[in-house]
């Protein structure tokens, strides 16, 4: 999983059927100190995250299949699986 910050969402009409009725968010990867990294991740929201939220994004293995309940694997990889309340870190 990676840490990220929700920076917006995508409005999309034409999409693969596995994305139907899903909220598709834009997430910038984030360091634990709050600084944003480059790159934008497109992730399907499953927890009701909104812009400004710090979130956990899972993109590995069968996370998406398990969480979204697909019977077969689908071309969908990144899923927001949690909203972070607080991070305790000793790194600077």
């Amino acid at each position: 999983m990676i840490l990220g910050k929700v920076v917006g969402s995508i409005v999309s009409t034409i999409k693969h059927k596995s994305y139907q009725n899903k909220k598709i968010m834009l997430v910038r990867p984030m360091n634990p100190d709050g600084s944003l990294r480059s790159g934008t991740v497109v992730a399907v929201d499953t927890v009701g995250a909104g812009p400004g939220n710090v979130v956990l994004v899972a993109s590995e293995g069968r996370s998406a299949q398990e969480i979204l309940g697909f019977e077969k694997r689908q071309p969908l990889r990144s899923v927001i699986v949690g909203i972070v309340d607080y991070i305790e870190t000793q790194s600077k």
Partner: protein
């Protein structure tokens, strides 16, 4: 998943039979501000996109799974067309 801008089209007469009747596009990965991220890729289209479109795409194992019952030899597959991006709550 990531964002990308379709920059061109690729024709290949001789290719793996599983890629027959697919459209191959040249795609530039971008972030939500349109900034280029890395080199251009060849992507398989599943949503009837066109040159110039902003799309989102999936990589990794999931890129092989857009069609039922067959895995295609693709490592970037376009899975949605962006109507527009709603960007807010971000910033560095």
């Amino acid at each position: 998943m990531k964002l990308g801008r379709i920059t061109g089209k690729v024709w290949a007469t001789i290719k793996d039979p599983k890629l027959n009747s697919t459209t191959l596009y040249l795609m530039q990965p971008v972030d939500e501000e349109g900034k280029h991220l890395g080199p251009e890729l060849i992507a398989v289209d599943t949503v009837s996109s066109r040159e110039g479109d902003l799309v989102y795409w999936v990589g990794g194992a999931e890129a092989t799974m857009p069609f039922e019952g067959v895995q295609i030899p693709s490592d970037a597959t376009i899975v949605g067309l962006v109507d527009h991006l709603d960007v807010r709550g971000g910033g560095t």
